[in-house]
């Protein structure tokens, strides 16, 4: 197990060209997306795109633990809020710090929090683990509400720059940043899926006791998964204060974030990296559409109904419906 990035030594050969193909594909999607957004050139278009991309990051990050290892983290909003408030905290100290730096800090803090959460809860299995993560999220919420430096219950205002170099607006810049984060998140999830880590996590998901007896160091692998997952989830929240310029605990720990982050991988399919992406793009777009045509309060209703439909008739999600081997990794 010399290299974590690939399951077998032979796989290391030819890794670079494949990576370049994927990067090229991501760049092409980015160019198309931002050309279209440029045509609209409205704040709302960027807002909508930002929202969808943010969910790609959240769903993808959550799935590293929830989908690959089968450990359902109910505390996704907690990690997201960690990123949001990490930025608020840094902004209060260094108002001129570039947002990408804040994203990096959020990733580090998220990974540490994920590791800590893992140590506290990973010995619990199934629903007890999930309840543990929920409890940690509630504790974090209480801490933020009572922490005056980051605005406490009242919330905090952020004054963002008027514009960003190379971009038509600051919103366009943040949207592009979120696109890059989505690419990074997907790259991490895809790498994990095809690595030793992913194979071990799949064994843990199928049967943890049998995995241990097959030599899989389950606790170590699960801690790696919680850390990676936590890093990506927190990363997703870091640019948010600059996007809406005012945050309070209710927005950062919102039920919508908590529910969507779990629902999107479940609906898209949790076995591979592509499921959460499909789920996030589909449901995220649907919700944006509902927000303009009906009302934003329809969002949770939509995702709730879809969840009921999918968990009862298509437990392996959209990708499961498309795939011949239903639980294929």
């Amino acid at each position: 197990m010399s290299s974590l990035s690939t399951p077998y030594v032979e796989d290391r050969r030819g890794g670079l060209p494949r990576t370049l193909v994927w990067l090229g594909l991501a760049a092409a999607i980015g160019v198309v997306l931002f050309t279209v957004l440029g045509r609209f050139n409205s704040e709302y278009a960027y807002l909508a795109a930002y929202g969808v991309l943010q969910y790609v990051v959240l769903a993808t990050g959550w799935n590293i633990l929830g989908g690959y290892a089968g450990y359902v983290n109910f505390g996704a909003a907690g990690f997201y809020a960690l990123g949001v408030y990490g930025s608020v905290f840094l902004y209060k100290l260094f108002p001129d710090l570039p947002v990408p730096v804040m994203v990096l800090v959020a990733a580090g803090v998220g990974a540490l929090f994920g590791l800590g959460m893992g140590y506290l809860t990973l010995r619990l299995r199934g629903v007890f683990f999930s309840i543990g993560t929920l409890a940690l999220s509630v504790i974090l919420h209480t801490v933020i509400v009572n922490w005056e430096f980051v605005g406490g219950a009242r919330g905090a205002y952020i004054i963002r720059p008027e514009d960003a170099p190379f971009f038509s607006s600051y919103a366009a810049y943040l949207c592009a940043l979120m696109f890059v984060l989505a690419v990074i998140a997907v790259a991490i999830a895809r790498t994990v899926q095809h690595s030793w880590l992913g194979r071990g996590l799949a064994a843990i998901r199928d049967d943890e006791t049998a995995a241990e007896c097959s030599g899989v160091a389950s606790l170590k692998l699960k801690l790696a998964a919680t850390s990676l997952s936590g890093a990506v989830l927190a990363m997703a929240g870091a640019p948010f204060p600059f996007f809406i310029t005012y945050v309070d605990p209710a927005t950062a720990f919102s039920l919508t974030v908590a529910v969507n982050t779990i629902a999107m991988p479940v609906i898209g399919g949790m076995a591979t990296w592509i499921g959460p992406v499909v789920g996030a793009v589909l449901i995220g777009s649907l919700q944006q559409l509902a927000t303009v045509t009906i009302s934003s309060s329809a969002n949770l209703l939509i995702v709730g109904l879809l969840l009921v439909v999918f968990t009862s008739i298509a437990p392996f999600g959209i990708m499961g419906l498309l795939s011949r081997r239903r639980t294929v990794r």
């Binding site: 399951p7 077998y8 071990g200 199928d206 049967d207 006791t209 007896c213 097959s214 030599g215 990794r329």
Partner: protein, 247 residues
Amino acid sequence: MSALAQTTNPLILDASGIVKRFGGFTALDGVDFTVRPGERVGLIGPNGSGKSTFVNCITGALVPEAGRVLFEGADITRLSAHRRARMGLARSFQIPRPFKGMTIRENIEIPLAFAAGETSRRKSAERAGEILHSVGLGPRAADLPASLSQVELRRLELGRALAANPRLLIADEAMAGLSDSEVDEILELLVRLNGEGIAVILIEHIMRAVTGFCERIVVLVAGKKIADGAAAEVMRHPDVERAYLGQ
């Protein structure tokens, strides 16, 4: 135990004074159990006598309240299950526990990679093919476990244990519920593995399998060892007849 004694320990498994309690219930009450390299040992006892619990204490799924487990001279009493698997201690489960989302071949490749440390795709595929062939699952390599019959699932259990490259294999009721000819198939397989130098602990209710396969038999009743010796001797033991065969 001195360093010298450790390196010259002639036993592959040396468990002594194993105690395991579930709440107020004592499932194992000071069990001693030894296995020599390459030996075939039977572990028998009525339902609920603690056989599977003993296996769990040996393989690391449970931690005993008291006692000590030595594997090839090293103290593994508190070692995690995956480390024991990597050291060469493998088991099959009484109720098959396949990795349901993986193909049969992938099921084999998990212990190949994680316990036996196989990092070459070519060698892993080769070895998985050999193992699947030896347990008679060659043609099923690309199938999912859900499509396997009961006897095939038992063979997968043994194949997966085998893939860990074990020095000691614990087969927990690998034959329960199988037909006579299927029992013979599994027995043949175990004989073959034993011929390759793997010590085997056979836990079984099917007496003809136990007496036919094992050189030595250990009898557990209500968490206590009541007999330990050559197969023929143990089967004649009056306590064994009364406690186990008599019922």
